[in-house]
Symmetry: C2
DNA sequence: GTCGCGTTTGACAACGTTGTCCAGAGGTTA
DNA sequence: TAACCTCTGGACAACGTTGTCAAACGCGAC
């Protein structure tokens, strides 16, 4: 078994080139190129000789050289916040699926919510000459992308808008979703509702807060600022904030959690308490229906976000011009029980 | 004015090169290269002129050309089964983290459990001349990789072993984990235990089945073949199989689910039944502790799998030779309740 | 003034591929 | 037999970068 592998005694790390194949097959360089790329104008006999040489040498075309020559890389970059966040899994997958349909590879990386790291990653991708970029931004100033975009790197922002530049964008309807969620709680009798959100500099967090306030205002309900807490989604912070709202001087009877990570912590906090507290979470998650009470959520369609963004990107790459477009993906309230709990009697 | 205009009005899609920068700065090509790469031997004055030209033109080094010239791409490929599967999120993240520490980019894609697609993807990555590959195999024959490995592409297999070639491998202890899980159920009084697994051609599924049989045998318990069902993890199939075991002539009193997707479906099936059935799942998942009863699981450390594999890969890239290594990552049984249910009285 | 030495700089080839263009073989027609 | 076409195959330049090597320069010492 191993001796066959050793049979080809090439120098470790250096691979045969078309030139080697041509020499071995006794044909010209361009003929090999033609065979490799399935171009016409090669007799079956010549083609067979070349194919034999290719397998014998273990030749594989060097795409770096090809890219250099052709100018297009057939790859796109995806920069997201955290590869491990389950919310981005389907999005990632959807983008890859569309890329694959267009014969492109996907290069990706996480920014870890760090603007500097986002920029570093994006520019590294640009240096690789990706044809396009799908970005879930962590930064709030994307002017550093201007030269790249001017040079023809198609760019689409997803989930959050670009900062200080005009660009194609695909967003969930965070405002509307949050308003629906809070209206749902109000419809079930709640008056004192807490909002647990992500850091305020994140666009979606701000939008969801805006939706919360809008729903409260539409119902004529005052908002005690002690009911609003934005910040890191670290469990400790969320736990602390939730507890403060629930045990404060004007305790809330319901919570609206601004994203999946916050919801998970909120569920844990509420599970430890004797009396049930209503909860609606932004983002759906697996098994939300099996917890008791089942968790009512505002679901985003992450796969559709990704698919839409990638499709938009390839449309640009296909040469569709025009001003930056912004597409909004609707959210969907899924009542499951936790949002339908009435406030405790006498509150 | 004219040269400014010429500078800004580049043809859309074509970027300035070092040659353009050199012309504008009034220096030689190599001097620009030196500045871009921070090489010594450039006077501060010259360097400033070059830097100015770079920003004015929006120059960014073309890494395709650089790669072609240097031979190393500073990128590694990760091929996994499904980017959207939450189990692979932390693994993906861990690999990226290690890659980043080594200054490498991560290119990835999903095989969708399709051997042909895996091969296509892997070879595309080889054509890009990735320095190394981390593969979660879908195929069971990897001889197609022999020329690539011989040519110096470092390769590490994770989660499942390579087929028909020798290669570095990092695995979870599926056998031991499954045996622990089933032994746990037996210790709580169960005698008739069902196994719901993934397709038998998948190594981990086979190993877990082996663990199941080992635990049963060690306890001197016979296995009714109606208690064993391997196949697709599609919810319909799992539901059907589980129902058959629970309602069959010799009904099981406990289930062991072979992976996270199966566990989720099993939880749903059991939730619909009047009397509780014990369950242990392979793979931990979020909120497993909040379902009632909380789900007992055998947890794999996906992040550690990824970290170990990537570290092994870069060690090879750093020139460490030697025979293929196989590393095994232990699993951990997390008792939460669902595995501690006793069998119904009189069974 | 010239020599030697170290530093800064640039000309040029090479990396492996593809596009352009031309040469020669073979066949058809006048 | 010459003129003309078609079809296959190959020579060569170019893509944008980096490594090699040598030229040009400044400067102190003889």
């Amino acid at each position: 078994m191993t001796d066959t592998a050793r049979g080809t005694s090439r120098r470790y790390g250096s691979r045969p080139t078309m030139k080697d194949v041509a020499a071995r097959a006794g044909v010209g360089l361009k003929t090999v190129s033609r065979v490799v790329n399935g171009e016409p104008g090669v007799t079956p006999d010549t083609e067979r000789r070349v194919q034999d040489a290719i397998t014998a040498l273990g030749f594989r075309r060097n795409d770096s050289a090809r890219i250099l020559r052709k100018g297009r890389t057939a790859s796109i970059g995806l920069v997201l916040e955290d590869l491990a966040d389950p919310f981005y899994g389907p999005l990632n997958r959807a983008v890859e699926e569309v890329a694959r349909d267009h014969g492109a590879l996907l290069i990706n990386g996480s920014s870890a919510e760090d603007p500097a790291r986002e920029q570093e990653l994006v520019l590294a991708l640009c240096a690789r000459r990706v044809d396009g970029l799908v970005i879930i931004p962590a930064a709030d100033d994307h002017r550093y992308l201007e030269p790249e975009i001017a040079a023809g790197v198609a760019t689409v922002f997803v989930d959050r808008p670009a900062g200080r530049i005009e660009a194609d964008t695909v967003l969930s309807d965070s405002f509307g979703g949050a308003r629906d969620a809070v209206a749902h709680l109000i419809a079930h009798g709640h008056r004192r509702i807490g909002f647990l959100g992500d850091q305020p500099r994140i666009h979606t967090a701000a939008e969801r807060l805006r939706g919360y306030r809008a729903a409260m205002a539409e119902a004529g309900l005052p908002v005690d600022e002690a009911w609003v807490s934005l910040g890191s989604t670290a469990p400790d912070r969320v736990r602390f904030a939730a507890t403060a709202m629930l045990d404060g001087p004007r305790p809330v009877t319901a919570l609206f959690a601004g994203n999946n990570r916050v919801t998970v912590t909120a569920v844990r906090v509420l599970a430890e308490r004797p009396r049930p507290v209503a909860l609606v979470g932004f983002d759906d998650f697996e098994l939300a229906d099996l917890i008791s009470p089942a968790i009512t959520v505002v679901a985003q369609d992450a796969a559709r976000l990704g698919r839409t963004a990638a499709t938009m990107l390839f449309r640009r790459l296909d040469g569709v011009d025009g001003p930056p477009r912004r597409e909004e993906i609707p959210t969907r309230l899924i009542p499951r029980g936790s949002g339908e709990l009435p406030p405790p009697a006498g509150s």
